[in-house]
């Protein structure tokens, strides 16, 4: 499917959604739920509010669908809405995610056991998001979208509505924080070490 064809498909689908056609609503949700969920998950980490957030993001999408002026692809536009929902969630302090503290038993797992690396990776993710909980909403968004979701800095800047320079600075500051935390935490340090997951999957 060419870009132009995909674009026309999007326009047609949006037209159908605007008439309130249930099949179109379902189709749009099914087409984009994966990317929206992945985006929210990478920004916020494992979260018990994920269902509500996913629903909230799509409600925002459908409410402002008439405002999609086709200057960007529908997917990019939906990403922007998702990022806004994540930002709003992070900005509300009382609902801020707090990573559960690790118990003594799982503090330093042995790397010799077969499932140990998987456990280490899980703990690494927890510890990483615990550090990210200490960051401001804008820095966290920039860092997670760039470093974890793998989006180029220019795309991240556009998504968060900021300049590339400011985005780069936020990513750099967040990275410094994570590196500082890793220096004092061997599990996080091990998790951040490149190649860990590859070894684990092998």
């Amino acid at each position: 499917m060419t870009v132009a064809t995909a674009y026309v498909e999007d326009v047609l689908l949006v037209d159908r959604c605007l008439t309130g056609e249930p099949a179109a609503t379902r189709e749009l949700f099914r087409r984009h739920r994966g990317r929206v969920h992945a985006c929210l998950f990478r920004v916020l980490g494992s979260n018990r509010d994920m269902d509500d957030l996913l629903q909230e993001a799509f409600i925002q999408v459908f409410q402002s669908l008439r405002g999609w002026r086709a200057e960007a692809s529908l997917a990019t536009w939906i990403d922007r809405v998702s990022v806004r929902v994540a930002y709003r969630y992070l900005s509300q302090k009382h609902r801020r995610i707090v990573t559960e503290p690790l118990t003594d038993d799982e503090a330093i797992p042995s790397t010799d056991a077969p499932g140990a690396r998987r456990q280490l990776a899980r703990d690494g993710v927890k510890r990483l998001y615990a550090v990210l909980d200490e960051l401001g909403a804008a820095s966290r968004l920039a860092f997670t979208l760039h470093e974890i979701d793998g989006r180029p800095l220019a795309d991240v800047a556009e998504l968060v509505g900021s300049s590339v320079t400011a985005t780069k600075l936020r990513v750099w500051r967040a990275r410094k924080k994570v590196e500082q935390a890793a220096a004092a935490d061997p599990i996080l340090s091990e998790f951040l070490e490149p190649g860990l997951m590859q070894k684990e999957s092998a």
Binding site: T2, A4, T5, Y7, V8, V11, L12, V14, D15, R16, C17, L18, T19, G20, P22, T25, R26, F29, R30, R33, H37, A38, F41, R42, G45, S46, M50, D51, L54, Q55, F58, I59, F62, Q63, R66, R69, A70, A121, G124, V125, L128, E147, I148, D149, G150, R175, V178, E179, F191, L192, P194, L196, M197
Partner: protein
Amino acid sequence: MKLVGKVPVEPLEEERLTNIERNLVVHVSEMAQRPAARAPSRMLAFAAVAFAVLVAGFIGWKLRGADVVPATEPERIALMQGKLDLGDADIASSPNANATIERTPGRVVIVMKIGRLDLHVEHKPGRLFVVRAGDVEIEDVGTRFSVDYDGKNVDVRVTEGEVKVKRNGTVVAIKANEAWTLELGKTTIAVLAERAASHATSPQTTAQTTTQTTATNENVVAIAPTANANAGSGSGTTTHKGGATNARKAILGRTPQAPAIDLGGKPSVKSYIDYANEPGRTLDEKAWALYGSALLQHKTKHDKEALYTLSGLLRPDRKVNAYKPALWLQVRIRCLQAMDDKCREAASLYLQKFVSGPEAGIAQQILSEISQ
């Protein structure tokens, strides 16, 4: 630090996703049934006025007691037939010329009402030399050039040096042997001479040009008598800024609008969408379906929806056959609503893409009407 792929996304259970989907379907159908919320325009207007008053008050307070430096009163010269020597500029005008010159030490502005001016202007750093003809502004950069203005059309020809032609926020540099007209934009003097010669040999065009002083714009010539006939009928058809006049409505209504594809039976927006969604449809077929949908929405007085549908077709990177009629439909909808900036934008966009045909003539006429 390489974290891409290291944070696996935990999948959501199918049941939870189904719940979300169900909630969304209910929410969206309710939303579609609800009338669109009206913008709080009165509140906004009130807030804007209050803000303006505050700003004006603040500026007044800041400027209180400040010495007011009187601006140099510009010298005004009425320019009729003949020659005028301004010291650093020679201006020759045609018998029918009517223009006014406003001159201050740093600025000469010639406002043309009609006629032709031949100018030879010396370049003087720090001095602005501008000729205004309608909404077109010609800024001299040290040169010999002529401006022909018949009240609607502008024809600029440069024989030496360079001028800058400014219109609707765009600036075009015109150098020696180049020309600029409202119809063609930047071109060459040779092309204009060729066109003038071909017009002179065409009896049909010669007959039509009796209503116009410039023969360079056949589209406007073809349309203008109709508009004038309507305007002169005395049935409240006076054209004025801001309102959709009967004359304009009549002209826009008479312009052929490309028909939508025939799907058999009574067309509906849904039938066009279904048609477009049929497997194997080409991009062009889908685009025509979108156009048909927009045309139907316009005919059923759903202009907002029609403009929305058109926005899907009118991207600059679109290369579909329905692009031209879609662009014109946008002009038609916008300009029937009001002769405002949106109408002007739509007409300008059309003229940028298509310079010939009756639609281009009307678009040009609309732009002239707005600029008056």
